[in-house]
Each structure stands twice: as C-alpha cells, then as structure tokens.
C-alpha cells in the first residue's frame, strides 16, 4: 500500500472514529435527558412519548363510553351511569359496595387533587413538588392537622360504621390505582415526574382537617395583642367587638322585622405602647399564614357563604325551598365533585362531595335538603405557657408543678427523598405549641379533639326529615356550621352546629390565656339546646350569611368576636321579607343579586358630605365630579355598570384613611382592619378622633375624610382607566380568578366578570380568587326538584370538556337542572357508563 493510500485510510478511520464519538456523545446526551429529570424539567423520554407519555392525556380526556371491571372486595355488582353533565349516579346493593364504587369513581376523575390536598395536610408537599413548598409543609405540621386527624382515625373502633365505610372508600380508590394504565396518569404527575401514591383511609380525616383549617382556624388572640399595643384595650374591644354593632342574627328574634343597630361611640385610640408592640408584632407575624390567606382570602368580603330556606306559606308553589351557596377558595379542579348515591331503602342522596371524602356534606335526598354556611365561632384558644428552657423546653408549668412536654419530631423530605429539614414540635395537654416573640404559646382547637364528624355527616345524608337531621347532627363537632334544612313535609330549620367550648368565667376566648393554671382550661362544651337555632319561624324563612348567630339581647354567651359584617344577611332578609310568593327562579336570582346593603349605609353620607363641602366652597373638583357620577349610580354591582368602580375605590380610600392609627409608627404595618360595620358605627360620630389622619397637621372630621376619599378615588380611577366611560365597566374590573391547584398558567381561568361587590350576596375582593363554590336550589315537592352549578367541572383532566364546562352557567348566575333518577334505567342516554362486578 502506498503512502497516499495509507494516509487516506488513516484519515477515513479517524473520521469514522470522530463520527462515532460525536454521535455517541449526542446519543448519550439524548438518552440522559430522556431518562433523567433536569431541574424542574421531567425526563423527556417518558414525558414526550406519544404512545404513553403526556400526549396520552388527550386520549384519556373523556371516560370510556362503556366500561366493565371487576373489583376486589365488592359483594355485588354496582352500576354507575354518568348523566349529560358528567355526574355519576351510583346504584349499589349495599353501602359498603357504594363507598367502594364512590372511591373508584372520584379517583377516576380527581386523583391528583386528592393526593395534593392530602399532602397539604400531611405536610409532605415537598416530596411531590420540591423544596419550594417546605414552608407550607412546616406550617401544616406545626398546626398539627395530620397529627390530629390520625388520632381521630385511630380512636374510631374497627366495628364502627364510619370506619367500615371510610375503609371501603379507600379500597375503591386503591382499586382504581391498581387497574390504572400508564395512559391514565393525570397530567400533573407527568409534569412533576411523579407517580400516584396509594390511598389510606385516614386521608379522609386529613381532608376534614383541611376543612377545619379553612373554616374554624381562629388566631384573633394573636392579632388582637398587636392591636391592643397600638390603640389600647378599650379601643381594641370596640374595633373587634364580641358583639356585632348591627344585629341581623341567624336565629330570628320574634317580632323583629329589621336589623337592630346596637353600636355606640368608639373609645378614642390610646397612645402606642412601644414595649408591648415588639412582642405583639411577633405574635402577628406568627399569625400570618400564606396557606390560610390562600384558603380564606385576606379581605373582609373575600369569602361569604349564604343559605336560606323558605317555608311553604311564602313559596309560590306551597313547597319548601332551600338555597345553598357556600363560598370558598376557587380552584380548578373545583373543590366539589357532584354525585348521586343510591342503595335502595338505605340511601338515595344527591349532592357534592370533597374528593377524598365518602360523604355528601351538602345536598338533598328524596325527603329533605341541607346546606351550610360557616359559623366562624371561636373554637381555638391560645395559652401563654411557662417552660423550663426557652430554647429547648422539656417541661411546662401547670398548677405549680412541672409537667413533661410531648415532643413530635417532624422530618421533611424533598422529591429525591433527601431530608430537607427536621423540626421539633412540642405539645402541652392542650395541643401543639408555637414560639413567637420569645414566648411559648400552646393552642387548643376543637379540630384536634378526638371526634368522628364522618359518622354524623353520613347519618345526615340519610335523614328523612328536618328533625332527624338535627338529631343525628347533634354529635357533629366541627368545623361549626350553620346547617340549614328543609323537608318535603314543609318544615324548615337551622342550627349553628358544632362543639363550642365552655370557658371559665375569667377567661376570654379572644385573649391569650394564662397557661399555668388548669382552672383556665375549657370546662366542656355547650349542650345542643344552647346552640343558635330555629325551626319553622313565624316569619316563614330562615337565612344565614356568616353573621353573629344570636342577638346578644337574647343570649349574651360568648361564641366568638369580630363577626363578618351582616350586609349580606340584611340584603337577603330584605328580599325574603318583601317576597311572599318565592319561586325557585327567584331563589336563583337572589344568589347573584347585585345590590349591597352596605352601599345604602355609606353612599348617602358620602354624597351629603360632598354637597356640604361644595356649598362651603371647600370641596375639591375631583370629589365634586365623583359625587356627580355616584348620584347617577343605581347602587348595583352589575357587569355593565360604570359607577361601581368609583364607589369601590372610595370605600377602599375611606377604610385606609380612617384606620391609619392601626398602621403603627412606620405606617407600613399590616395589622388587621376593622370590618365595615365598625366603620358604619363610626359614621354616627362625625367628630370622633378616629377620623383624624395622623400624617396631616389638620384635624379631620368624618365629612372631610369622606370628601377626600371620594376625590382621591376619582383621581385614582381616572388615572387607571381614563375618563368615565366604557373602561370603567365593572366587568373589566371585578373579575374572578380560578387558579389551578398548582397555579400552573393555562390550567386556571382568569378575568371572569363577576356580579359582585362590597356586601353583595356574592361578594368578592382582592384577586377574586374566592367566591361561590356550589350554588344550588331545591324545591321540596313530593318529587324533589333541584338546580345547581359550580365553578369548574367534574373532570380533573385540563383538556377534558368536563374540566370547566360549568363556568358558563356559574358566571351567568344560571343553574343547571340536576337529574335525580330513581333507577339506573330512568337516566336517558347516559354519557358514560361503568359496571363494577365482584371478583370471581
């Protein structure tokens, strides 16, 4: 071989080696990113795989038209028929099979949601999502939610019906997991590169704990401590009072046909107590919780549930009517899952469940309907504890003797299983402790007491009358709810149901209590007879809207403090008083009624103040222009309204200016803000020192603050939206935001126009992330008729038609007809059907 040929051969060989090395490196890289996740990017191979990867989510968007499966543990076949709205109607022969099927069916549509909610309570989100959720996990474990739920579950005897049914539900979820194919894995798991975890029965109680966190967490004591340091105890008592200054209670006062204005003169603010403020602000920081803020919202009007029932004598058709309208954080998938459960002769109930819970907390059966609003009672107390070591305590002082503290070691893991952090949570006999401002506080909360809410709610699902419902719910512990019921016999009833602690006479529930004395502990719970309640009142209707349940004139017992303003109650009571022939359609219309009772209290005063200032020549032109516009306003927060924005901005200004004393010396402190009822109370005292804005040399009065608030609001709105015109339309400003549970863009729905405003029956505030979570109306005729909707859809798959198909009716304030067949065969042309059979 000559030299040239040898060189050519070597060159060829070298180029071949280069090709191998280069392509090998490319292959290694491609395989690596295919097999391993990089940062938040999932492993690309299984993710992009068009056969079984993320694209399969499209193929499984809808359920199979017909399916038949065998399920372990079933004793008889179960027929599941989905109606045209995607609601499963489950027909079983016994309750255990029914619950197995329910677990299966809910997991089929909402698996990821079930796991995410469970993990949020267990404090294990970091294992699924990563270190970004570590603080949320720490908060959940410090609250003791899963700890308490596990205690409850372990205390329920194996022989109890609730134990059997919850276990059956869990079996159903796991049966779904067992038969699930790769294609069925929900999108969120694929994006996170995770796989679904097995379901455990105790997770049902985790979800109940989450509801308690949303509805009965109350850290008024901590916030109040800061407030007292700022304005003194007397003023704090008046700003966050035990009794609302406007009384429109849930338990009707016989003979009263209008709200009672009970307020007085607000005591002036005391000078700041700088020494106390340091500790108090640490308490306030301890009370700040992103989780609770997300669940409940931050503004006064963010969450506001409503319910009302009309007795036959005031209904057009002579049948009792019931309206349910619980408001909660809005998410996709929705918090609720609609279902119809039937075992002949045992249960025949339609309503909404929380995915993960085998009960229908709100719904109806052939005999009655029920719904709830939150009572908001004070069922959580803080105790200042004395410990032996401030940093690493082992004992706490009780009645002069040292008692050992229980310790709970909490380990947090990340997605790879690596331990991210370890916390030690201490417990006294009252509950978990927290450390704030160098002070150890323990917490007693009804949500952590041993109880079985599941049993009461399950029995309630099967109740046949208002009386039976109230009897079985007597054992319900919490979160305390204003349960409203109506039956086909024509009865209506309401009761604020839940365990309310009996405190020693010297202990105030809204103050931090001395923990060194066992005499300061709770002494028991109220008897059921003492709960706020009413049945078949002479007025012919009942309503609740989170307001103070009983007028203190009737019963001065302490139930809580700082009650939500009763504007919604005032409005619905006014509507129901005025309507003596209520129809189901009127009930529906009231749910999104655009009028606010609050406006009627503030707007005339605002306009009068501007008129007086203009007459005296001291009003600025913006306030005069604003007043001219608001005089044209019909007071309705409708989508096409172009004046509501100005009123809303003026009220925000008024609130900000009036309560400037609560912002502390730095003027940036984010303390609590008194409710609008307190502001209404203050309106009756035009020269109160509270009107004075400390940052100005002048001494302001009510009228001057009203005028400046309106003028500033006009300027702000004009700067943001231009001169008065179409851009001031309420539909472009007050919108709802429904985020996906992981807040993934594209999976949520935003800028949904709302017919809601300050104090309307469907309130919304801030980012609009809270609102009506399930609106329904039931007519208790011999053949019960019902209508309903919720902001979302039945499926958790974001590309399914059933993911958000109800949003259209929800935003329009309309309701869909709910199908309530007596037999599977009565459901014409089911959209999907599933038959579950026992294993051979």
């Amino acid at each position: 071989m000559n030299e040239a040929a040898r060189v050519t051969k070597v060159m060829t060989r070298a180029s071949q080696v280069a090709v191998v090395l280069l392509s090998g490196a490319m292959l290694a890289g491609a395989v690596y990113i295919g097999a391993r996740p990089i940062g938040r990017v999932p492993a690309l191979g299984p993710f992009l795989d068009p056969a079984h990867g993320v694209w399969a989510v499209a193929r499984t968007a809808e359920l199979p038209r017909t399916a038949s499966l065998r399920m372990a543990g079933l004793t008889d076949s179960v027929a599941v028929r989905y109606d045209d709205r995607g609601v499963p109607h489950i027909f079983a022969h016994n309750e255990t099979d029914l619950m197995r099927a329910l677990g299966f069916v809910v997991a089929r549509d909402r698996l990821f949601q079930m796991e995410l909610q469970t993990r949020a309570v267990a404090g294990t989100l970091s294992e699924l999502v990563g270190a970004a959720t570590l603080e949320a996990d720490r908060e959940a474990r410090a609250q003791g939610l899963a700890w308490g739920a596990l205690r409850k579950w372990r205390a329920i005897p194996d022989t109890a019906e609730s134990h059997r049914l919850v276990t059956a539900y869990s079996d159903g979820v796991n049966a779904y997991l067992a038969q699930m194919t790769r294609d069925d894995v929900p999108l969120e798991y694929r994006l996170l590169g995770a796989t679904p975890q097995a379901w455990k029965p105790e997770y049902t109680y985790f979800l109940l704990a989450r509801m308690s966190l949303t509805l009965s967490w109350n850290d008024e004591e901590l916030r109040r401590a800061g407030l007292e340091a700022l304005v003194g105890a007397r003023a704090a008592d008046a700003l966050f009072p035990v009794n609302a200054p406007i009384q429109e209670p849930i338990q009707p006062v016989p003979g009263r046909r209008a709200p009672r204005f009970a307020g007085g003169v607000l005591p002036p603010p005391a000078p700041h107590d700088s020494a106390r403020l340091v500790v108090a602000e640490a308490f306030e920081r301890a009370a700040e919780s992103p989780t609770i803020a997300a669940l409940r919202g931050t503004g006064e009007v963010a969450v506001g549930s409503n319910n009302w029932a009309v007795a036959p004598q005031r209904a057009a058709a002579g049948r009792a009517l019931l309206s349910g309208d619980p408001h909660l954080q809005l998410t996709l998938p929705s918090i609720w899952y609609e279902v119809h459960l039937q075992v002949p002769g045992v249960i025949d109930t339609y309503g909404v469940t929380i995915p993960g819970g085998p009960i229908i907390p709100i719904g109806f059966n052939r005999s009655m309907a029920w719904t709830a609003t939150n009572t908001g009672a004070d069922v959580l107390d803080y105790y200042a504890e004395t410990v032996d070591d401030r940093r690493h305590p082992t004992q706490y002082l009780l009645d002069g003797a040292w008692k050992p503290l229980e310790r709970r070691i909490e380990e947090y893991r990340g997605r790879s299983g690596r331990v991210l952090r370890t916390d030690t949570i201490y417990h006294t006999h009252r509950g978990p402790m927290l450390r704030a401002g160098g002070q150890w506080l323990s917490r007693r909360w009804t949500a952590l007491e041993i109880s079985d809410e599941g049993e009461a709610l399950h029995l309630a699902d099967k109740a046949r009358s208002v009386d039976e419902f109230m009897t079985v719910m007597g054992r319900y512990v919490g979160p305390a709810q204003n349960f409203l019921t109506a039956d086909t016999l024509g009865h209506i009833a309401i009761r604020s149901t839940g365990f309310y602690p009996i405190r020693p006479a010297t202990v105030r529930g809204d103050h931090i209590t001395d923990g060194t004395k066992s005499a300061n502990d709770w002494q028991g719970y109220w008897p059921v007879e003492r709960y706020p309640q009413a049945k078949d009142p002479a007025q012919g209707y009942l309503a609740s809207n989170n307001q103070q349940p009983k007028d203190p004139v009737v019963d001065p017992s302490y139930m809580g403090s700082n009650w939500p303003s009763p504007f919604r109650a005032m409005r619905i009571n006014a509507l129901l008083r005025a309507d003596s022939a209520v129809t189901p359609d009127a009930m529906r219309r009231y749910q999104t009624d655009p009028v606010s009772a609050q406006t009627e209290l503030f707007l005339p005063a605002m306009l009068d103040a501007v008129a007086r200032a203009a007459a005296a020549g001291v009003a600025d032109t913006f306030a005069i222009r604003g007043a001219a516009l608001l005089r044209e306003w019909d007071g309705r927060f409708t989508a096409d309204n172009e004046r509501a924005v100005l009123y809303d901005a003026a009220m925000a200004e008024l609130t900000q200016r009036t309560w400037d004393e609560l912002r502390g010396a730095t003027n940036v402190r984010r303390g609590p803000t008194p409710g609008a009822t307190i502001l209404a109370e203050l309106m009756r005292d035009p020269t109160s020192p509270w009107w004075d804005v400390r940052s100005t040399p002048a001494r302001e009065t009510r009228d001057s603050v009203l005028v400046v608030s309106l003028g500033t609001a006009y300027r702000t709105v004009a700067q943001r939206y231009g001169p008065p015109g179409p851009r001031w339309k309420w539909s472009g400003i007050r919108t709802a935001t429904i985020n996906h549970m992981l807040r993934l863009p594209g999976l949520g729905r935003t800028k949904i126009p709302m017919t809601s405003g300050r104090g309307t029956l469907s309130p919304s505030d801030g980012d609009g992330a809270h609102g009506a979570s399930w609106r329904f109306v039931v007519e208790l005729a011999p053949d019960v008729r019902a209508w309903g909707t919720y902001p979302g859809g039945q499926s958790g798959n974001p590309v399914s038609e059933r993911y958000d198909d109800r949003l259209t009716s929800w935003r329009a304030g309309t309701l869909d007809t709910l199908r309530f067949p007596r037999r599977a065969a009565d459901l014409p042309a089911p959209r999907f059907s599933l038959t579950l059979r026992p294993e051979r």
Partner: protein, 115 residues
Amino acid sequence: MKWLLYLAGLTLVIAAGTWWGGWWTVPVAAALFGAWRAHARDATLTAMLAAACAWGGLLLYDASRGPVGRLTHLFGAIFHMSDATLLILTVAYAALLAAAAAACARGLRRLVTPA
C-alpha cells in the same frame, strides 16, 4: 423505492416499539438499523426520518382520539412558548434519538468491519 421500503419498515418498527415498549425502543431500533445498514450512506437519515414519522404518526393517532390541539395550547401556556413547540420538540426528540443512535451504531460497525 427500496429506500422507501426501509423507511416504512423502520417507521412501523419504531411506532410499534414505542407503543409496546416505550421511548427507549427508538434508539435501540435505530441503532440496530444503523448497524445493519452500516454501508448505506443514507442509513442515519432513514432512521431519523423513520423516527420522526413514527412519533408523528402516533401523535396523529392521539389527535384522532382526543383533544391534542387543546393540549398543545395548554403546553404553550404552561411553558411560555408557542403552542406548536412541544409538538415539534416531540418529533425532533425522536429524530435526534434515532439519528444519533443510527450514526453511532453505523460508525462502530464500519470501524469493526470496514468495507
């Protein structure tokens, strides 16, 4: 014509492999093809096109069975990119896997058994 047959055959093999085995069958099938057709100049190109066609075909199948369009729109929003990007990335990823595997295997084969 023969090339088209090779292309069609490999496309079917990769599609079936992905369906029954998983994504990793793409480089395996392409490597085997590259080694087998080591002395054909267009083996790498054939493997690349076959993989793209196989995964593109599977995507078409997905689209015939569900709302792939809605899904691409969703991905656009989640990943802050244009709607079609993930579709293109899917096909491109299969093509890259196949091309790299085929080229590597072909090169190795040619090193071991020179023409």
